[in-house]
Symmetry: C2
Subunit: 410 residues, 2 copies
Amino acid sequence: MPFPPGETTAGQVPQAEVRRRHLSVLLRHVHAEGAVSRSELTRATCVNRSTTAALVGVLAGAGLVREEVPRTHRSAGRPSPVVRPVPGSAQVIALEVGVERIRAERVGLGGEVLAERTLLPPPGGPTGFEDTVGRLAGLVGSLGGPSTAGGRCTGVGIAVPGLVRRADGLVRFAPNLGWTDEPLAAALTGRLAPPWSRVPVAVANDADLGALGEHCRGAARGCDDFVYISANVGVGGGLFCGGRPVPGQRGYAGEIGHMIVNPGGRQCRCGARGCWETEIGTDVVTEAAGLRVPPDHSLSGVVEAAEAGDERAARALDDAARWLAIGLGNLAAVLSPRLVIFGGGLQDIYEATFDRIEAYSATTGLARSRAPYTHRRSALAHRAPLVGAAELAFAPLLDDPLAACRAAAA
Amino acid sequence: MPFPPGETTAGQVPQAEVRRRHLSVLLRHVHAEGAVSRSELTRATCVNRSTTAALVGVLAGAGLVREEVPRTHRSAGRPSPVVRPVPGSAQVIALEVGVERIRAERVGLGGEVLAERTLLPPPGGPTGFEDTVGRLAGLVGSLGGPSTAGGRCTGVGIAVPGLVRRADGLVRFAPNLGWTDEPLAAALTGRLAPPWSRVPVAVANDADLGALGEHCRGAARGCDDFVYISANVGVGGGLFCGGRPVPGQRGYAGEIGHMIVNPGGRQCRCGARGCWETEIGTDVVTEAAGLRVPPDHSLSGVVEAAEAGDERAARALDDAARWLAIGLGNLAAVLSPRLVIFGGGLQDIYEATFDRIEAYSATTGLARSRAPYTHRRSALAHRAPLVGAAELAFAPLLDDPLAACRAAAA
């Protein structure tokens, strides 16, 4: 494999590029970990102590981190200074456009949530794309100016339940929002007032961002091969392989809810028949159990009713377990992940029917032979896509801290 | 993302490590391209001309490459020397254990096939694991000694149709061979005579190696996101994302033939019901058409019979098209590849029923919205897994050319 561009012999990497990379590694580490000793940073970057100290000084000079001498320490010798992110120094706006609500957070470097808003749809239900963009613009404005006394806002990230063309933030298809080919990034930029309109807007699929959020700050920290499954009205997925997201062509990978598992089955909102989400979508399961869909799309009500002896609920649970086993088996066959994270109500089903799912899986020799995957409930719950949207918005700053600071200050 | 280990500031990468990497990049390039000008190598490595010349000199000194002054050249000035791999200098043995035959090749650096053998099963059909290992050992011996006048053999790579634990070459499950938990790498090493027994043996899934072969020397050159589908008796897959193979946990990813697409369907050899390979396996389709399975498992006979008006063949073709569309749609939903390569008879079906497959796919809004993937016939045909097995065996040499040469000479 050839080296990435710019990575050549020792003497030939331009010094500025070396510095950019080291600042990036340092700032990412501090952003992810919150507060780290300078000696820990020295280990993380493999740069010597004095170089690390100088690089931390550069970030501190830009206002992005702060060094403190810890009050107490156990080991002998001079204590290693602790480096912390300055949450106010660089901030982003994270937005999630859901079917039932819009969520917004203003997030500081290091991941601290500085402000948040939730917007329910207007009376009469969700309106069209233009109206949603107007509401998003209003939310962004309500979370403080792009440049406040507290610091600069360096980006906006948006999570959307649909296929998103990453390059330009065009939402190709979001069946549950009723959107086709809506230029979300450009439309929001167009609606924002002048100082805001220079802040870059990035858009991605909500489950992809949920996976990113869980990898940075949730249940997948330290796990490099996993599938994140989001499930409420629809079923989405975010995939990581070898520590990196699997985007697929133009960012469209991970539409696991649209694997066809039951070719003669129900019509899906996507137009096909028998998609996985038509069998295990939380609303489908709840309605099959004869229950009302709760506001959080949890399936704990179905599980409780089944366990209390309700036959219709028990049948719905049984069916859901079988379809869950089939879809999980398909993902395991194709990707063989180490970890599956349930980001929605499916965890309730999975836990309640674990024995049935295992028994079903055991019918295939492949499942017996593979190492089993671990499963975990999302650590971030409904916030996972928002956390990922913030990380998406922080990416340019973390890649090139000084350039992003200059751009934001200009 | 932190730098890979050892990749630090300019002055701090150990010089030996820098040299190892540059030699690796150069040798990989020459191995893949066959004959390249030194100026092309300078571009590929981003190292300056004199460093490139010195590094090529090191590889030439180890006998791995040869420099020649081209006889004719068009541009003015001194012609750039052409660097060629020396096929005899380092060689590997590539083996493929198939259901119906064992194939073996002795391959030189640069990919030239120096010798090949095919072994049909003994009368009475394939025998057990120990017997197969004995036959493999015999084949290896018949292809020349580990150290011949021509050069040294630096590795053995084996392709197997089953789940293989990469770390130790244990075949976990190969239903079509009837193997469960067979320690293939260790068993072959144990059978080889002393000079051979020091040559490392690596084992991997045949479709994974088919994908590797197509990426290095076939239809996926230059394409970093693709699915390779091998189909004859079984259906296997090899996945690439972002230019790298997707191994999954322990190397078990890509078992696409065992996606369940028809839960009420036929019993699969894996033990489950309704796996994709029970619907589109070439033997299944041929038998559904009422025809005899040809030795190459091609489906062209089914297509011809259907086009000639045979109703049973036409129905079989129709069914196969529908199941092919469903499985390809599932792979597109999960992975959204740029390219699908057909490594077996399925290409016949795909080409003959392209319109039907497209019409079926068009029922889902996701397929309409995604960029379509390209499809190509395998460029290496039945040789793809063998080419990949050779690349698997060449990997240690290409990663660290001088260390591998030293080890082989010791």
